[in-house]
């Protein structure tokens, strides 16, 4: 598995898109830090972008890589290697290279700016951690979808739809439910519903760090009491891990049964 991971990884490092992705983050972060002024402000702006972009790019990249390396995969399948190793290797190769682009693109400017001497270090680490999780989660989902669909157009469409669902539609439904049932106490529902969407969960984790909880009144208090504590934090990170594990398990499940 490690060999395939290494191969996929180095294959991807030759890809131009990965560099463009990393360079984009780098330029964005540099301009936010030096032109926008202020670490805290830069972190909030970056959060808005990473929460949308990291899942989108991970989804696109995952699907694209699977379809493009289709011939090579068939070659590998003919070898005496376990199927789960092949696909996990490829998946981890994609996810790791995306993660490294993000880490370098966002991390380097912050290090140059002097994040280590600042009180914002925890907020920043949270942002990076969340960005890494989102890369892993959405590339796993993308691989799972691509494995299930031989038809490229269908696979692409479905992957984009899944991204759109989590990034936009889910929140719309969430808001609709909140306003429809506004006569009922909705705090537990709000917490529960945010656990089911990795993007929402990531956003709330960062916002809590940035102390926006004070704006949320009673709901904020409830959420802070749940997620602000060590147990709540562990719980939400656990859910994020689960969000990685579930699609990865799905990849294995499909890969083992699939007739190539």
């Amino acid at each position: 598995m490690f060999k395939i991971l290494k191969y996929s990884f180095f294959d991807l490092t030759r890809s131009r898109w990965l560099y463009i992705y990393g360079a984009f983050y780098f330029l964005l972060t540099v301009s936010l830090l030096w032109l926008g002024g202020g670490l805290s402000k830069a972190i909030i702006s970056l959060m808005n972008i990473i929460l949308v972009l990291a899942p989108l790019i991970a989804t696109m990249f995952g699907v694209m890589y699977y379809y493009n390396s289709r011939e090579f995969t068939e070659l590998l399948l003919a070898q005496p290697i376990r199927r789960s190793h092949i696909f996990f290797g490829q998946y981890l190769g994609v996810a790791c290279s995306l993660a490294i682009s993000l880490l370098l693109g966002v991390g380097l400017p912050f290090v140059l700016y002097g994040i280590f001497n600042s009180a914002e270090i925890w907020n920043f680490s949270m942002l990076l951690l969340v960005g890494l999780f989102l890369s892993f989660i959405f590339s796993a989902i993308a691989f799972f979808i691509a494995l299930r669909n031989e038809n490229r157009i269908k696979g692409f469409g479905l992957a984009i739809l899944v991204w759109l669902f989590f990034a936009v539609i889910y929140d719309g439904l969430f808001l609709l439910a909140l306003s429809l049932f506004s006569d009922y106490p909705l705090e537990s529902f709000a917490i529960g519903a945010s656990l089911f969407n990795p993007i929402d969960l990531s956003r709330i984790l960062i916002l809590l760090k940035l102390d926006i909880s004070a704006l949320m009144g009673y709901t904020g208090a409830v959420i802070q009491n749940f997620m602000g504590t060590l147990l709540g934090m562990a719980c939400s990170l656990g859910v994020l891990v689960l969000w990685v594990v579930l699609p990865a398990w799905g990849i294995k499940w499909v890969a083992v049964r699939k007739d190539f």
Partner: protein
């Protein structure tokens, strides 16, 4: 008539020349402050040298000048009020007054002034006094340069640092107050000035006005209090050049206005408060040249606010610039700078050509269902706000800045 005045002046000056000084120190002939007051005449100075005086219930009933040298400590041992002033023309300075002790039956104070005038309480330090300086039915006095520090833990069992009740023409300046229920509290106080004070880490309010009219407060700093300043049921209050900082928490605000008429709020800075200004039922208020920086809500207005003018202010990076809970209103919001404004200025006159609508759709949604705040800063909400901005349906269209500024106002000049 002129002769009598001349005579009186001469008499006074000769009296002043004769004013004796009574020295108090632990080893002196006169070793307690109470003893010194009993032996002194009106107009005398009592010089209190450094040392520890475990005394309470000291009643100052003559026009005396109590002066501490080298910070003498007057300790009430947690069960006494310390100074009670009942004569006009008293000055108290240079003392370190401590340990009054909590009382639920009496509002004990470090220094209490009762029905007196022409007093001056300056340059004292008060530590762990239940109420710090308590003025009742006083007028024409000065409370300046005092440092009042308490250890208040809950509102029920704590007092105010400087407490004014039924007073007139008082000046409170350059005081530093912290760790009490309210930093400075005014009830039925008219024609007074509160200036250059620092009020921080108080449980409830940094400064609190109740039923007080025609007062000014300016160049004060209110930092990390339960809430910065509360002005309630008062008329003609001028609020100038103050800083309201870091009043952050679930029920915190920089400035609370409730039933206020004809006030002027200008040149203040509101930095990182949950709510910059929270307004309820207030009318004819001018908001000018204030800076609202990184607050949760810059201004939150409830119903019954009429004829308010918000103009020439800077609204910088607030989560919400404005929140209103009543649709019709006749308040004016013209001529401000909003950092969220992204209109254009074809005429190059510094004024944007497109009106700015400070009330966002999400704001409206959050007012109806507070739980929706969990969706803050999500892509969906941004899209929602954007589409509402393009074609307003739900947000009140008449709440708009018709002349938004393109450049941030510079108040330093």
């Amino acid at each position: 008539m002129r002769k009598t005045i001349l005579f009186a002046t001469l008499l006074l000056t000769s009296l002043a020349a004769q004013a004796a000084t009574v020295t108090v120190c632990p080893g002196c002939e006169c070793s307690s402050i109470g003893q010194a007051i009993a032996s002194a005449n009106a107009g005398d100075e009592i010089l209190i040298q450094s040392g520890l005086y475990q005394e309470g219930n000291i009643i100052v009933d003559k026009a005396l000048h109590l002066r501490g040298e080298g910070w003498p400590v007057v300790d009430g041992e947690n069960n006494n009020e310390i100074f009670t002033v009942v004569a006009n023309g008293v000055t108290i300075e240079g003392l370190l007054i401590r340990n009054v002790g909590t009382s639920y039956l009496k509002d004990r104070a470090g220094i209490r002034l009762k029905r007196v005038r022409d007093f001056s309480i300056r340059n004292n330090r008060l530590e762990n006094t239940f109420f710090g300086i308590y003025l009742e039915h006083c007028s024409d006095g000065v409370v300046a340069d005092n440092r009042v520090e308490g250890k208040a833990e809950e509102e029920m069992s704590s007092g105010n640092a400087i407490h004014l009740w039924y007073c007139k023409r008082i000046v409170a300046e350059k005081n530093q107050v912290r760790g009490h229920r309210d930093g400075i509290y005014l009830e039925f106080v008219d024609d007074s000035r509160i200036r250059y004070n620092l009020s921080e880490h108080n449980l409830r309010y940094g400064l609190h006005f109740m039923f007080s009219n025609d007062d000014d407060y300016f160049q004060n700093t209110f930092r990390r209090n339960g809430a910065g300043v509360a002005v309630m049921f008062s008329r003609n209050i001028n609020m100038w050049e103050n800083r309201f900082e870091y009043n952050w928490g679930r029920a915190a605000y920089g400035l609370l206005l409730k039933e206020i008429y004809d006030a002027e709020i200008r040149d203040n800075v509101f930095l990182e408060n949950t709510i910059g200004i929270y307004v309820e039922g207030s009318t004819r208020i001018q908001y000018q040249r204030n800076e609202f920086n990184r607050n949760g809500w810059a201004i939150k207005m409830s119903g019954g606010c009429l004829d308010n003018t918000v103009t020439a202010n800077n609204f910088l990076d607030n989560t919400f610039d404005l929140s209103l809970n009543s649709a019709p209103n006749n308040n004016s919001f013209d001529g401000n700078y909003w950092s969220d404004y992204n209109g254009y200025d074809l005429g190059r006159d510094g004024v944007g050509d497109v009106p700015y609508q400070p009330v966002k759709l999400f704001n409206y949604v959050v007012n109806r269902t507070p739980e929706a705040m969990v969706l803050l800063r999500s892509l969906f909400v941004d899209l929602l706000n954007f589409s509402e901005k393009v074609s307003p349906v739900l947000t009140p269209a008449n709440v708009a800045d018709n002349a938004p500024l393109m450049q941030k106002l510079n108040f330093q000049s």
